[in-house]
């Protein structure tokens, strides 16, 4: 099977985040970027199924030049080639505009299955891959915790998370877009050999024209949404903060839990 896997590079949310001067997004200077968590699991799932079916993985990402690092990592893990939608016209879009570009890249590349994470850890629309499926006219599933390709790639058995600790198992026809949840598998580490080989693997950078796309449907121009401002939320009443070294803070907390909150 030829499997396309879409990944996003996102700010490391464990890092210290600062709002940019214009207030519309993060200040990206000195910001550390990582592959979006659920997308890492999608890469692993793609590699597993490509190995089982004797196919190959094409890794696709939309984003600025820094994204090349994430694509190289995917190549080092075993993807055969990468597509980087780096042209300025692609950038700054919402789920709608991003999906238009990704769908065109997938169509151009040809794929029997598309895998991606369920939600980005930055804007978190959770919608982009479902929109891609709509453009391709393929079935999709969100929050997938189990995947079994069946019948030589004609169908797939999918386990999807529901609320309250339940999973639903169903079958859908391939090709399809499968949006995996973190935890579906155990992502592998890149080997030194893989890292060396990755340096010689191709990263294509198709322009909108090469994908038959009109710039008006891409990036901010092709978006329904506009982010006006981002901010740290009001802390509400917030927590009563307890200071001091570990022993002193622990002692004070226990006292408060006993006498103030009366829960101990």
């Amino acid at each position: 099977m030829r499997i396309a896997v879409c990944i996003k590079q996102v700010p490391d949310t464990e890092a210290r985040l600062r709002v940019a001067k214009d207030g519309k997004w993060l200040d990206e200077e000195d910001l550390r970027f990582v592959i979006n968590e659920s997308d890492e699991y999608a890469v692993e799932e793609a590699l597993t199924w490509a190995e089982k079916t004797g196919g190959e993985v094409v890794i696709i990402s939309l984003g600025p030049a820094r994204v090349q690092e994430a694509l190289r990592k995917g190549l080092a893990l075993g993807a055969a080639k990468a597509i980087h939608l780096v042209d300025e016209a692609y950038q700054g879009g919402d789920a709608r505009a991003t999906a238009v570009a990704l769908a065109a890249a997938i169509q151009n590349e040809g794929a029997d299955l598309v895998l991606t994470g369920s939600q980005s850890d930055d804007v978190g629309y959770g919608s982009t891959a479902s929109l891609v499926a709509g453009h391709l006219g393929w079935p999709h599933a969100w929050l997938v915790m189990g995947l079994e390709v069946e019948e030589g790639g004609a169908t797939a058995k999918v386990t999807r998370e529901m609320e309250s600790g339940m999973n639903e198992v169903f079958r859908l026809t391939l090709p399809a877009v499968i949006e995996v949840q973190a935890g579906i598998n155990h992502p592998r580490y890149a080997s030194l050999k893989g890292i060396m080989k990755a340096k010689r693997k191709p990263i294509d950078k198709p322009t909108p024209a090469e994908l038959g796309l009109d710039a008006a449907s891409l990036g901010a121009a092709g978006s329904h949404l506009e982010i006006l401002e981002i901010a740290f939320p009001d802390s509400g009443d917030g927590a009563q903060m307890i200071e001091g070294d570990a022993a002193a803070a622990a002692k004070e907390l226990v006292e408060k839990l006993q006498k103030e909150a009366r829960v101990l």
Partner: protein, 334 residues
């Protein structure tokens, strides 16, 4: 004609989903804001008593679709049933509860209609340039204010807890079939089974005290000090999703204790005391524990959103604070 707000209601096993009521509350507020009317949409097969449940709210109309292809939820039939009606009636807003079901299909509906999507709304305001939507970003660490800059129907999902269900006004809706539903709806999923995840013996919903472990713990080999704290407190152990996904919480046989996950995909708990150690407080976790009477947060990051809902907070290394806390608890419990 006044503008319309539609609310698509979710249900399971003959009962309206708790968040359907929150979506109604959000729809009613939105309709009040724009001077419009609010109607409900109910899809399923053999709706029966659900129609009575759903029409008991202050809705102009309850639109229903009763079709065997909607017996089990599937995006194909849901999108096909809703698309023509929304296209023709052109409601200004269609509100969905932000659930694992809605978010599976409402983007697909947006694609079919080329409608704007605003997922995970936690609030809105009516400004000079129209409605501004608030939604969490970056794991709830920050919030974004977003605007829809195109015209046409806007589809939005409302996050749990943002529009409390008790704000949903009661009434009596007229019940009508949803117009323009195509004949021959078909499911695009062959449902095989529904499974309980993990060991259903673990019931954290009745726990009085929970020690919950987050990503900040740092590894499976570092969980022991939290187990000791739980022991002196007589507490149950819980965990946030990343801990489970990374396989850091293991039972005696080395199996991942997924059934101890707390949050939207795990259990919803309401203990007297909840100690969140190394949990940043992503909204998916908060919806599962914010009903706790007293929340203690221990985190090295002073900007972690967990501190916004916690009652007591300590900023620092949990591997220093937790053993100290175990000692302090042991001293008073003797």
């Amino acid at each position: 004609m006044s503008e319309q707000v539609w609310v698509v209601l979710q249900h399971r096993e003959g009962k309206l989903h708790r968040m359907s009521k929150e979506a109604i509350a959000a729809g009613q507020r939105l309709a009040g804001e724009i001077g419009g009317t609010v109607s409900g949409v109910l899809l399923g097969s053999g709706l029966g008593d659900l129609v009575a449940q759903a029409s008991a709210f202050d809705l102009a109309t309850l639109y229903t679709v009763d079709d065997s292809a909607l017996q089990d939820y599937n995006p194909g039939a849901y999108v096909a049933a809703l698309t023509p009606a929304i296209r023709e009636q052109a409601p200004a807003f269609v509100v969905f509860p932000h659930t694992y079901q809605s978010v599976d299909y409402f983007p697909r509906l947006g694609q079919a209609l080329d409608a704007a999507l605003v997922p995970e709304v936690i609030g809105f305001e009516n400004g000079a340039d129209g409605l501004i939507w608030q939604r969490p970003i970056l794991g709830g660490k920050l919030q974004a204010r977003v605007r829809v800059k195109t015209s046409g129907t806007v589809l939005l999902s409302v996050q749990s807890g943002a529009f409390p269900a008790d704000g949903a006004a009661a009434g009596q809706a007229d019940v009508e079939p949803l117009p323009s539903v195509p004949s021959g709806l078909t499911s695009d999923r062959e449902i095989l089974e529904v499974q309980q995840v993990g060991d259903d013996q673990v019931d954290l919903t009745k726990a009085d005290v929970i020690v919950a472990i987050g990503r900040g713990v740092g590894g499976a080999d570092k969980v022991e000090s939290l187990r000791e704290l739980a022991k002196v407190l007589g507490a149950d152990i819980g965990a946030s999703r990343p801990v489970i996904d990374n396989g850091w919480l293991l039972d005696a046989d080395g199996n991942v204790e997924r059934e101890r996950q707390i949050g939207s995909s795990g259990q919803t708990v309401a203990p007297k005391l909840y100690i969140a150690a190394g949990i940043s407080g992503a909204i998916q976790h908060l919806v599962g524990m914010k009903g706790a009477t007293c929340i203690v947060a221990i985190n090295k990051d002073a900007t972690a959103p967990i501190f916004n809902i916690a009652h007591y907070g300590i900023v620092g290394d949990l591997h220093e604070i937790v053993p100290a806390l175990t000692e302090a608890v042991a001293a008073v419990k003797g």
